[in-house]
Symmetry: C2
Subunit: 253 residues, 2 copies
């Protein structure tokens, strides 16, 4: 989107399992959708391995560039859970045991069952606030503009929901999708380019699909001005009709 009034965000996905192909990330699309609904532009995503220096470098680059940074993965009791330590290093603060987190973990595991690994889950960067959610006793954390979430999708989403009200929101985005079958995008591309240049505050995306040998096309129109979004979608529909194809317009994606 093109607006200086919208907060921006980056997602930092931390995990060897994503980069090795062992696990297909499910968090990016959830973060993208939820931020979009809040009028926040997800402006960048990075995926980095469980390597402290890489997390520190990415976190420092992103937190200085965007309104918010949301990290996923690498919190927990095992040796590969290093996001809290890396975040502390990025901010130049020590890792400290949070008494409230200890209480939550003791309540969950019982005090007798607390072992060193479980105590580790109460370590957060000094100055961080906890992110607590219904899905787990092991908290996430927030320090300045950085939110540290779990990587397990159900827990990540629960943590994101838990902090949603703390984020500044931007203006609502209106979306219309114009779709049709059997029309190559190259038949209307020149006219689309001309249209897009006439509506600079409106984002028009052209997404062809190829399924079972049939081509489909979705044109997605997004912007903060509901009237202009609708008008652009109608103009696109006319371009498609001029090719002898009947389009379908819908609100949303």
């Amino acid at each position: 989107m093109s607006s200086s009034t919208r907060p921006t965000a980056a997602a930092l996905i931390i995990g060897n399992e994503i980069l090795s192909g062992r696990t297909a990330d499910e968090n990016i699309v959830v973060i993208a959708r939820k931020l979009s609904e809040m009028g926040i532009d997800l402006s960048e995503v990075r995926v980095v391995p469980d390597v402290e220096a890489r997390i520190v470098e990415a976190l420092n680059a992103l937190r200085r560039t965007y309104t918010y940074v949301l990290t996923t993965g690498g919190i927990g009791p095992t040796h590969d859970d290093i996001t809290m330590a890396a975040t502390a290093k990025a901010f130049g603060v020590p890792l400290v045991e949070d008494p409230q987190a200890i209480s939550a973990l003791e309540a969950y595991f019982t005090p007798a069952a607390m072992n060193p690994a479980r105590r580790r889950m109460a370590l957060v960067p000094q100055g961080a606030r906890l992110v607590e959610c219904a899905a787990t006793a092991a908290p996430g954390a927030c320090i300045e503009n950085v939110f540290i979430f779990a990587g397990v999708p159900e827990i990540m989403e629960s943590m994101l929901d838990a902090i949603a009200d703390a984020l500044a929101r931007g203006p609502q985005t209106y979306v219309h999708t114009v779709s049709c079958s059997g029309l190559p995008e190259s038949m209307i591309a020149d006219e689309l380019t001309a249209l897009a240049s006439r509506v600079p505050m409106i984002d028009i995306g052209s997404y062809p699909t190829f399924e079972a040998g049939k081509i489909g096309l979705s044109l997605v129109v997004r912007g903060e001005d509901a009237v202009k979004v609708k008008e652009a979608a109608e103009a696109i529909s006319e371009l498609i009709r001029a090719q002898g194809v009947e389009p379908e317009i819908r609100e949303g994606y």
Copy 2:
């Protein structure tokens, strides 16, 4: 992985549709798996919007850091397809019409049906070679260590397969997965940490799952030494058995 003999790679995912949440990326996991099979470490992924300056910046950072950069998205005939132009800019070369690409497009569309938008699909950075594949007449391109692929998953995969033989390969990686049910990772985390520190060339990942209220745990052991990978997996199995839980070991993920 920890080895200086392995080529490295970054994936640059280009597309507003991923950042808006309209589309769930399907390419990262395919790239990750295929590179992994080739002994190439996918070391970073970035997702950036259809904004030339952002693509140029990311491309220049990544191509100077990793052996290979694979981009997805933003090639095609429409106004939002700017990857070829951005790549030319990143390399400081002009965008030129490739005669071989024109021939391929004319053969597909017929010469009479070539319009300006279709000709645009033959523009590549000067000095680039085409990446041709069975799935499309619109080529990708390769310039130095950068491979430019389509964003449509079927086409991306076809292009990646088409260039696979041109990539340097690293040593084979061996993977064993030890999995069990009902055991929280925090019960074996301290022992796992000790084990991981004894086998620095072996990567051990701990991945809890929560499905339908049941906890599961997968420990993934990866490395270039097949014997040490198997030994580490067996040592992990013993840690689990010591908790009264019967683990399952399998090769692969």
